[in-house]
Subunit: 274 residues, 2 copies
């Protein structure tokens, strides 16, 4: 069973007038807890704060969230979600001065078993839904996630583990719940998220670890043809880690050396703790 804390107190419900519900007026991050400690916390908190700033939301203090995460009764390993909303308000899109944000921390004990996927790689498809271009919200993990919901609803075959998303102009941007990396000629590339998409904390860490390991990486516009031409491709997300892409349409890949190296670097970083 999941456990929830609302503003630090055990609670399973929120005010029905919360702007997070009414307008999706808030942000969130999903992460892994080990013994109550969040993995990759430096990127999660940095991006949560950055996203709050993008929406003129007051980000809860780091200490308060860490206390919530430690108090969430979640066992040795768990998935946690941190949600920050603009709080309850009356009617209308304008918010009141001094409105108090609400923070919701939820924890689900255990982790899905995705070792096979991380080992052998996954089959992915291309979604028909195209991401709208909205620079004002690009990169932000806001509570406005209907595009992801509708894209994920396009398939039910459990063999297909992810759906790749193009933007309105056809560029490769991300997948429904993960970011995408390509490897070509030993160099790493990942789509720019300046027009749309969500900047995942795992993506940020992979970029950081690659740079530290001397693996060149470009953040730039990418096409689906770049994926087909790539030597390796993988998906990142804070729960799954790194999944090699094994198949897309007729194209097949065996997990490659750069993917394997980055999987190890991420595992090492997790082992060092938050």
């Amino acid at each position: 069973m999941a456990s929830f804390l609302v503003n630090g107190w055990p609670a399973r419900s929120i005010d029905a007038a919360d702007r997070g519900l009414m307008y999706g007026d808030g942000v969130f991050r999903t992460l892994v807890l080990r013994e109550g400690l969040p993995l990759n916390w430096r990127h999660h908190y940095r991006l949560l704060s950055r996203d709050c700033e993008r929406l003129w939301l007051a980000c809860p203090p780091e200490k308060a969230i860490l206390q919530d995460l430690a108090r969430a009764d979640s066992g040795p390993v768990a998935i946690a979600k941190v949600v920050v909303t603009r709080g309850a308000s009356g009617r209308g899109y304008a918010w009141a001065e001094g409105a108090e944000p609400n923070r919701i921390v939820a924890a689900w004990p255990g982790l899905p078993d995705t070792a096979g996927a991380a080992d052998e790689g996954v089959l992915v498809r291309r979604c028909e839904l195209r991401l709208a271009i909205q620079p004002r919200l690009a990169g932000v993990k806001s509570l406005n996630r209907l595009e992801n919901v509708l894209a994920r609803a396009e398939w039910s075959d459990p063999e297909v583990r992810e759906g790749l998303l193009a933007d309105a102009d056809g560029r490769l941007v991300e997948a429904t719940m993960s970011n995408v990396f390509l490897v070509a000629g030993g160099r790493l590339a990942t789509p720019s998220l300046e027009r749309c998409g969500v900047e995942g904390a795992q993506r940020a860490r992979v970029l950081e670890l690659a740079a530290a390991a001397g693996i060149a990486c470009e953040v730039r516009d990418l096409a689906f043809d770049d994926l087909l031409a790539a030597d390796e491709a993988f998906l990142t997300n804070s729960v799954i880690g790194l999944w090699p892409v094994a198949a897309f349409g007729d194209r097949r890949w065996a997990p490659g050396p750069v993917t394997r190296r980055l999987q190890r670097l991420v595992a090492d970083d997790d082992a060092r703790g938050a």
Copy 2:
């Protein structure tokens, strides 16, 4: 004080795991109640059902919502909001088969006094934020409303009553909480909502009443230059009714005959009841 019903029961809170909060996975409509009866209900319920269908959501039966609205302890006149979410679920964008939608009905007693605005017209500005083009969600009044929230936050001058919104290509689409109509040469025009924007129930009724009254109306792409060249312009929304646009930048208008006629037709329709 507002009163809330959740699935027909008085309640001020919802499950913190509701997908309406987690992803903005739901839709809503805002309307006026007179003695517990919703005005312009035929368009509100039609559009609510249509929006649910667009999101593969089961729309609650009309009877259930009407009962909620009648039970909302809201006095002689009130503003009500009907929200339908995909209900609570576990983690992840995919939803479980057979997930039960939640319906939330809220009522705020009284109405804002906007008689002056409806009489004399209002000053409007142009928002800097541009609406993203997303045909998959265009027209739908979903709970993903961050664009409206951010656009409304662009100004605080109470003299400015509305902000006009352009899409990514610069077309005039709507305002933050209302739809826009122009009158030129006795003909009515309102922006197409096939790329973005929200289809308001008041807009739908004005189109219907205009057609019945023999006023030609086109739904098509419009530019801000069309607004500047228009003989009349007005805003529609279910709470404010019709507001003449009195000023935009240097351009000034006196409320015109087509606007006045449509204000009367809407008032007559309201007087006939839902």
